[in-house]
């Protein structure tokens, strides 16, 4: 028998780990991954592979050569997840070199500058995406039409997304809600099939990786807000169903806004955060310069997360009883 071990309690652990959570999210993305491969073919595979590999590479290289961290954090799966999410936010015909730049910005500036895992105030994948969106607006907004399994590079016929149509006022050309649900529309990889994303989200809630608070509050806010506008003037505004199912809303609500590091800790805080994201998204979509407001809304609210954490304390045990006692 070797030496006895002493430590303070508790002496057991649930067995949960960072890896399990990160890879759990990756598994939840699988249905959407399959859908994107189905609709966009080999282009989607190239984008995703490039994005994941370069994210992992940059994380490893920065941790090892720039920060000289003693422990390798590549294996925890957070870089893979960032890569996947970044890939899902890009059009399938994006040139490889742009994707690599995006990955460098996402990991290098979005994550490692702040000190690596757990320290970044903003969602790294969104930092990468927004950087690309602003730097390469043309490439980032010409989406190939789905269904062209063999299409590659310049031969691709590009089309406007539902949101672009919305922004330019072509309401009559909007696709049906069912098409949006199953993914038969133009857009970024992960924006196409709302159903697959919702499936992944359900998986994450079932595995207790995330709670329902953020996705539900975002989607509900967007639905209610656009519902009110639609009821007021159906000719100018689209139905809430189209608003919710189009663009990156579901992807953002289920996978980007729920990022542990950059979202609030308490349920109350998460609801406030979700409602604000929904509100900002609708504002940007309808009156902003960009057709899609989700990424900006999440990044803006990421900045408010510390503030929400400071002011949204959980209900302490016995707090209500105390007030009742005073009466």
């Amino acid at each position: 028998m070797s030496k006895l071990i002493v430590s303070l309690s508790p002496h057991v652990h649930s067995g949960d780990s960072v890896q399990k959570n990160m890879y759990g999210v990756c598994i939840a993305l699988v249905p959407a991954l399959i859908a994107s491969l189905w609709f966009f073919g080999i282009g989607a595979a190239i984008v995703l592979a490039t994005s994941v590999i370069s994210c992992v590479f940059f994380e490893w290289a920065i941790a090892k050569f720039l920060l000289r961290l003693p422990n390798c954090t590549v294996c925890d799966g957070s870089a893979v997840l960032t890569g996947l999410l970044l890939g899902f936010n890009l059009p399938s015909n994006l040139p490889v070199w742009i994707i690599i730049i995006g990955a460098l910005v996402a990991i290098g500036i979005g994550k490692m500058t702040y000190g690596g895992l757990g320290c970044n105030p903003f969602n790294p994948a969104l930092v990468g995406r927004v950087f690309l969106l602003i730097s390469f607006p043309v490439q980032m907004t010409s989406w190939p039409v789905p269904g062209q399994l063999t299409a590659m590079g310049a031969d691709v016929v590009t089309a406007a997304t539902p949101l672009a149509l919305l922004a330019s006022g072509h309401l009559d050309e909007l696709p049906e809600a069912t098409d949006l649900l199953f993914g038969n529309v133009g857009g970024s990889l992960g924006e196409v099939s709302a159903l697959c994303l919702l499936l992944g989200c359900a998986f994450m809630i079932w595995r207790k990786i995330i709670t329902w608070h953020i996705p539900v509050s975002i989607i509900a806010t967007v639905a209610v807000l656009s519902g009110i506008l639609y009821a007021a003037d159906p000719t100018t505004y689209v139905s809430p169903l189209v608003q919710v199912l189009s663009g990156g809303l579901i992807l953002g609500a289920c996978f980007m806004a729920t990022d542990y590091v950059s979202s609030p800790m308490t349920h109350k805080g998460q609801l406030i955060y979700g409602v604000c994201i929904g509100f900002l998204t609708v504002l940007i979509r309808l009156w902003g310069a960009y057709p899609e407001g989700m990424s900006f809304a999440i990044l803006i609210m990421n900045a408010f997360t510390p503030l929400i954490n400071t002011y949204c304390k959980p209900k302490r045990f016995g707090e209500v009883a105390k007030k009742g006692g005073k009466k």
Partner: protein, 308 residues
Amino acid sequence: MNGILIAVIVLGAIGLISAVVLFAASKKFAVHEDPRIGQVAEVLPQANCGGCGYPGCAGFAGACVKAADGGSLDDLNCAPGGKEVMEKVAGILGLQASAVAPKVAVVRCNGTCDARPHGVEYDGTHRCRIQNMTGMGETQCLYGCLGEGDCESVCLFGAIKVNPETRIAEVDESKCTGCGACQKACPRNIIELRPQGPKGRKVVVLCNNKDKGALATKECKNSCIGCGKCVKVCDKFEAITLGTNLAHIDPDKCKLCRKCEEACPRGAIHAFNFPPRKPKAETAPTPVAQQPAPKAADSVSQQQVAEQ
């Protein structure tokens, strides 16, 4: 051309307005501060060690000025700055600096890994204060150094380090300023601030074990067992007192004769910074001093080798 002009004018105007606002604000919200506080703070070491008992050097400077208005600087001392800085401070405030003997930290534990085996393994957060909450910790001694380095992490001068071999904190006297931060950080109250002594010489009981003799012997080979032999040899100066099974040497009364070091049967008393013993120590009868004897012999033989 017109566009550029407008831009220049607009930006210039904004700059001008901002400057006026800032100027007004700096005048309006200016906080009056005794100018001497700034002057005193300037001569302080700016280590913000807190050894003086005030929050940082600025706090100490404020306290100095306040005390100077009261007429004396007696209770105030900047340990890292020492006499030199206190004289400067006194000069600024037009007072005399009181003489405070410079102090250094002494780790009163000599329970090395050989002397005090680590029988169990601590597998929690590696901080002394947390390990201390488990009870005895890794060794059998409830009073000795835990070796997790709480003192090391609070020392601003890099003067105290845990030796990975002995797993005991060691003080580098050339860097120690005697600020007392480590003393406050130690959960077992092992660290003592003692006067530096002439040429850094001092004689200290390097043990904090308050258990009875038999138990203390079992716990650690180098422990003080409270036998009182050192008290007897020091009858002339009465510098050594016996607490709860533990001897303590009063630095003010100690005449550095080192008799107690010879008398200690446990090798718990240590003399710091003395030159190596003269050869006569070898022949001097050291009662029951089995442990110090080989040590003395070693140093002597080394010295002889060096001389040859």
